[in-house]
């Protein structure tokens, strides 16, 4: 889990425009443009990313790709595997039997049952895309692909600057 890419969220930039949610759903049904949707089909897209308001501040409810993922341990069919190279927890729908134990153990309610298939679904951080679809759709840069380490360093930097009163020695 070295200097790898994970989703980093900056609440002060989020407008709750939900474009990320729509982009993720469109990717789930394999579409590029919402207008291609067939109006009569009642197929629901699996909801892998949703935005919640935690005490007034926006908060993306999604898979956080934990290092020791409870869902990985709970999965009876072994279809949830943590991929160290890209530090993401990958779920493969083919081998999933749809028992739902992962949904029970996930502390973030980030795993849902996929209506169309009889299996579960969660965010796999768009393995085939260079940049995940939700990051692409976010216009204000609230949702970005960087490493947790760098986010911590940025906060340390702003804290340090604030601590010396911004004078930075003249």
């Amino acid at each position: 889990m070295k200097m790898t890419k994970t989703l980093v969220f900056r609440p002060e930039r989020c407008l709750m425009c939900l474009s990320c949610v729509l982009a993720c759903e469109l990717k789930a049904v394999g579409m590029e443009d919402p207008r291609d949707l067939d109006p009569n089909s009642t197929r629901k897209a699996p909801r892998r990313l949703s935005m919640a308001l935690a005490g007034g501040t926006p908060w993306p409810q999604r898979c956080r790709h934990c290092a020791q993922a409870p869902c990985e341990e709970a999965c009876i069919s072994g279809s949830i595997v943590r991929d160290e190279a890209s530090s993401t927890v990958r779920h493969s729908p083919e081998t999933c039997v749809g028992c739902g134990t992962c949904r029970l153990v996930c502390p973030f309610n980030a795993i849902f049952r996929d209506e169309s298939g009889d299996c579960m679904t969660k965010c796999n951080l768009c393995p085939d895309d260079v940049v995940p679809r939700c990051v692409c759709a976010c216009q204000t840069g609230a949702l970005t692909l960087s490493s947790g380490d760098r986010q911590a360093q940025e906060k340390k930097r702003s804290y340090a600057r604030e601590m010396i009163g911004g004078r930075g020695n003249g």
Binding site: M1, K2, M3, T6, V8, F9, R64, C66, A67, Q68, A69, P70, P107, F108, G148, D149, Q151, A152, Q153, E154, K155, K156, R157, Y159, A160, R161, M163, I164, G165, R167, G168, N169, G170
Partner: protein, 170 residues
């Protein structure tokens, strides 16, 4: 005794009594905890702001710590009422919620173990304080910073005799 943390106390008039970015604190911290040389796994990081401003930043031991409240598995706890917030490695699942909410960015995920890693005061007598060649890191109680800033603010309100505003006014 009051809650403790590692504080940075510099004296801008004395060239030796300021952080000289030798990063010995990072090296010795990583060595004490993980027995390796790797500053990225240290729990204290020196932030270089340029123009001679280098500030070591580590856990502030907040009163109601956001990392404790947001941790889904309760891995971040205080042993005694006024002790340091400590990480329980076996319970931590590496979801990096604490990394997102920590105001000073002092909590990071350890690149190798994948669990949260933050300052734990080395069990009472921190190594970074012992090994800092400039002796600018000291074990202080957590709310000292505010008193110091109150004093500097008060001093800035008082006009000195020659009519020049207090040195900190700038």
């Amino acid at each position: 005794m009051a809650k403790q943390r590692v504080g940075y106390f510099e004296d801008r008039q004395d060239p030796e009594a300021q952080c000289s970015r030798c990063r010995m604190c990072e090296l010795i911290c990583a060595f004490y905890h993980h027995r390796v040389g790797n500053p990225r796994r240290a729990r204290i990081r020196v932030v270089a702001l340029g123009k001679g401003a280098d500030i070591p930043v580590s856990c502030l031991n907040c009163e109601d710590a956001p990392c404790m409240t947001v941790c889904p598995t309760g891995a971040l706890q205080r042993k005694e009422a006024d002790g340091m917030v400590l990480v329980n490695e076996d319970v931590c699942i590496g979801c990096s919620m604490c990394v997102s909410v920590c105001p000073a960015g002092a909590v990071t995920l350890d690149p190798v173990d994948g669990t949260a890693s933050k300052c734990d005061l080395c069990g009472g007598e921190p190594r970074c304080v012992a090994y800092c060649p400039a002796k600018v890191l000291r074990l202080t109680d957590a709310d000292l910073i505010s008193r110091k800033r109150m004093r500097t603010y008060a001093r800035s309100l008082v006009h000195t005799e020659e009519g020049k505003p207090g040195e900190d006014r700038k």
